[in-house]
């Protein structure tokens, strides 16, 4: 009976089973990826669920687990302060995205004219992106301050009637945030469009030129439509930057004058960490997350569908 084990049937099964080396090779990628996967599952998705859970609890100074249902959301939407933050976000993000895209596209088109010194000009436009928003915010705060910045300088130069006090004016302060943010990000958008422009097939452009297309028509009908993926990426990156914008507002206006430039991110921080209203803070974070999801899901859906 024992002899039969070495029979062909058994040997055949051993041959189909991959040896240790092959098995290890197929396992290595999974092994290497698993720690980072575990970390992401816990620290990104785990904490997202934790925040969602907290938003339904009576947490104040520390997390606590008394279930209160939708009370925090109810309170949140009755707060004037939250209304201001949301309407500021709408104004800020729409202007920010539109201006960054338009300026970025124009800069990219101009730089793409095979001009001399492009390699010097390109980084000049791109460098603001290398600064942190805190630096941008502080620099623009000084520049825009009527007492020491632009207005003061113009007065010193003799242009006494010059006035530019948006940063101190509650109706206009949010536009100064747009101004600083556009200055910072449009160079980056330019780089994305430039990459897109470089990827366009030259043959097609030559063919169009031979058919007598003007330069304007060339851009309007052929080049810009082909930049669709670049537009989409720019939109997604800019919109999530806009929704989570916190440091720029803190450095530039500190949410003021009054509460005129408060945005959801500054709202979330102050409610969660300084006002001991963690439940309301968490519910505002969830609303911000849902806003980002509402933008990302259609984007991911369309991207993944195209790949197939």
């Amino acid at each position: 009976m024992t002899m039969q084990i070495t029979d062909p049937a058994v040997r055949r099964s051993a041959a189909t089973k991959p040896d240790f080396r092959t098995r290890l090779q197929s396992w290595i990628p999974k092994l290497v990826l698993s720690p980072s996967l575990a970390l992401i599952i816990v620290f990104v998705y785990g904490f997202i669920f934790f925040s969602v859970y907290l938003s339904f609890t009576d947490s104040r100074i520390l997390p606590s687990y008394g279930w209160v249902g939708f009370e925090n959301y109810d309170k949140l939407f009755r707060l004037r302060h939250w209304d201001i933050a949301v309407s500021n976000l709408v104004v800020f993000s729409s202007l920010y995205i539109i201006f960054c895209t338009v300026i970025g596209l124009l800069l990219a088109i101009f730089l793409d004219q095979k001009i001399r010194g492009e390699s010097i000009l390109r980084p000049i436009y791109l460098y603001p992106m290398a600064l942190s928003f805190i630096v941008t915010g502080t620099a623009w705060k000084w520049f825009l301050d009527p007492g020491i910045g632009l207005e003061h300088t113009m007065h010193l130069w003799g242009w006494e009637s010059f006035s530019f006090d948006w940063i101190k004016n509650r109706d206009f302060a949010i536009y100064t945030v747009v101004l600083a943010a556009v200055w910072q990000s449009s160079g980056f958008v330019m780089a994305m469009f430039l990459a897109g422009l470089r990827g366009i097939d030259n043959e097609m452009l030559k063919a169009a030129q031979m058919d007598g297309a003007s330069n304007f028509q060339l851009y309007r009908r052929i080049i810009i439509p082909q930049l669709r993926p670049a537009f989409l990426s720019a939109f997604v990156i800019l919109s999530h930057l806009a929704i989570k914008s916190y440091d720029l507002v803190v450095a530039l206006t500190g949410g003021g004058p009054g509460r005129a430039t408060e945005v959801p991110a500054t709202f979330m921080y102050s409610y969660t960490f300084t006002r001991n209203q963690m439940g309301i803070g968490a519910s505002s974070a969830v609303i911000m997350l849902l806003t980002i999801v509402a933008i990302m899901v259609p984007y991911l859906y369309s991207e993944l569908r195209e790949k197939k």
Binding site: D145, K168, G258, S270, N276
Partner: protein
């Protein structure tokens, strides 16, 4: 859900402890205190070093854990993380209701033995005890008391128009056009939300009196919040709103103080931490600048803010011994005096000889003693003594909105009442 909850808190605790372990590099084998605070400016750091010296002399190791910025907001965030990790600091600089909150969470220990041995009960005014002796236990040791209802006036500016310091709000308001005529800004103001709340509380006491202040801002009674007195408070705030310059929004408080120092502006309404700016600029109290309480329409009054180091419960005997040494050092009469020479406040003890302090501090100390006995000393609202942070935050939104717009006093008062009642 329960399993999920437990795992989440374990993970949270795990991460924070790991980082805490990494940051602690000194081996602790003798009595020690770890003091977490946000006193990082020149005068504040000098003040704290008076305590530190005394503690080190007593053979206790001092671990300094400063968290700069945000008027303590940043330190509070760090504290929350440390507590979630089960590793609270030995002592922590905290304000007002926060002490009461942490005490209610059962996280604070006490130094009752030191307090009894050194007679703290007799040495401290009731106002200070309200925020250090919680439910019969001393959980906190007070370093100093600040007064927040103060006007800082430039002697230079008042001499320029030949006027006396205002004793009533009518006089105060009548000064503004005269200063403007002389090319002096009547009121230097830093347009940040928290500064506007300090200004509001000074006006609330000045116009409404101590009883109104208590019922509206401490007891948060709806009828007081919606009363005509509150409208009168906002009317006076509207007067002040008209006296500040257009560049005020976002200005730091010390820059506003600098405007008074160089005579560009006549007055600033600010807590007595502003005094340090004047003395650092080489100005003498009484001769170059004056510190006067805001005018009081009804009776007398005093808005106080207590600074104290609170003691988190420790199991380790060495750390517990460290806490007791620290508590005794803070309340040491000589330390209280030298601490407050640097801090610009007044000592928390009422039984000290104040001849080493300047005239402003001496006047403030005698005012506190009087108003404390008469029950007219009220806790600061802006400094979260009178009400919890959630309420103060809600009120801040309303006050700063009023101050930075031109809505009427009636609307401002209504907005404040609604915001506070919604946050209750």
């Amino acid at each position: 859900m329960k399993i999920f909850k437990n795992t989440m808190s374990k993970i949270l605790v795990g991460t924070v402890t790991t980082s805490a372990l990494l940051s602690v590099h000194t081996a602790i084998a003798e009595p020690s205190v770890e003091v977490m605070h946000f006193w990082t400016s020149g005068g504040e750091a000098a003040a704290l070093s008076a305590v530190r010296q005394k503690v080190i002399e007593a053979g206790v190791e001092w671990e300094d854990a400063p968290v700069a910025g945000g008027g303590g907001d940043n330190a509070k965030t760090v504290l929350q993380a440390r507590i979630a990790a089960g590793n609270p600091p030995t002592a922590m600089l905290m304000l007002g209701q926060n002490i009461i909150d942490w005490s209610k969470e059962g996280l604070l220990g006490d130094v009752d033995a030191v307090a009894a041995a050194n007679g703290w009960d007799a040495a401290l005014p009731q106002a200070v005890k309200d925020f250090t002796k919680i439910e019969g236990h001393y959980v906190s040791a007070p370093t100093n008391v600040h007064r927040t209802d103060m006007i800082w006036a430039s002697k230079l500016a008042f001499d320029a128009i030949g006027a006396d310091f205002p004793k009533t709000w009518t006089e105060f308001n009548a000064l503004a056009p005269k200063f403007l005529e002389a090319g002096i800004l009547p009121l230097a103001h830093g347009g940040q939300a928290w500064q506007e709340v300090y200004m509001f509380e000074a006006v609330a006491l000045g116009v409404g009196g101590a009883d109104f202040y208590k019922s509206a801002l401490v007891e948060l009674k709806e009828e007081s919040l919606r009363s005509d007195t509150m409208v009168a408070v906002f009317k006076q705030l509207a007067e002040l709103r008209a006296m500040v310059d257009e560049n005020a929004p976002g200005r730091d408080w010390n820059l506003a103080t600098a405007m008074v120092i160089n005579g560009q502006a006549a007055m600033q309404i600010m807590g007595d931490w502003a005094k340090g700016e004047f003395t650092n600029a080489g100005l003498a109290a009484g001769d170059d600048f004056a510190c006067i309480p805001v005018p009081k329409k009804v009776g007398d009054g005093f808005v106080y803010l207590v600074n104290s180091l609170s003691f988190f419960d420790q199991k380790d005997a060495d750390r517990k011994a460290g806490q007791e040494t620290l508590a005794a050092a803070i309340m040491d009469p000589a330390v209280q005096i030298s601490f407050n020479q640097s801090k610009g406040a007044i000592p928390a003890r009422k039984d000290l000889d104040l001849s080493a302090l300047d005239s402003c501090a001496q006047a403030t100390a005698s005012d506190l003693a009087e108003t404390d006995l008469a029950g007219q000393a009220v806790p600061t609202f802006a400094g979260t003594h009178a009400a919890p942070a959630a309420i103060v935050g809600a009120a801040t939104d309303a006050i700063t909105e009023f101050f930075n717009s031109d809505v009427s006093a009636e609307e401002g008062a209504a907005l404040l009442a609604e915001s506070i009642l919604l946050a209750l």
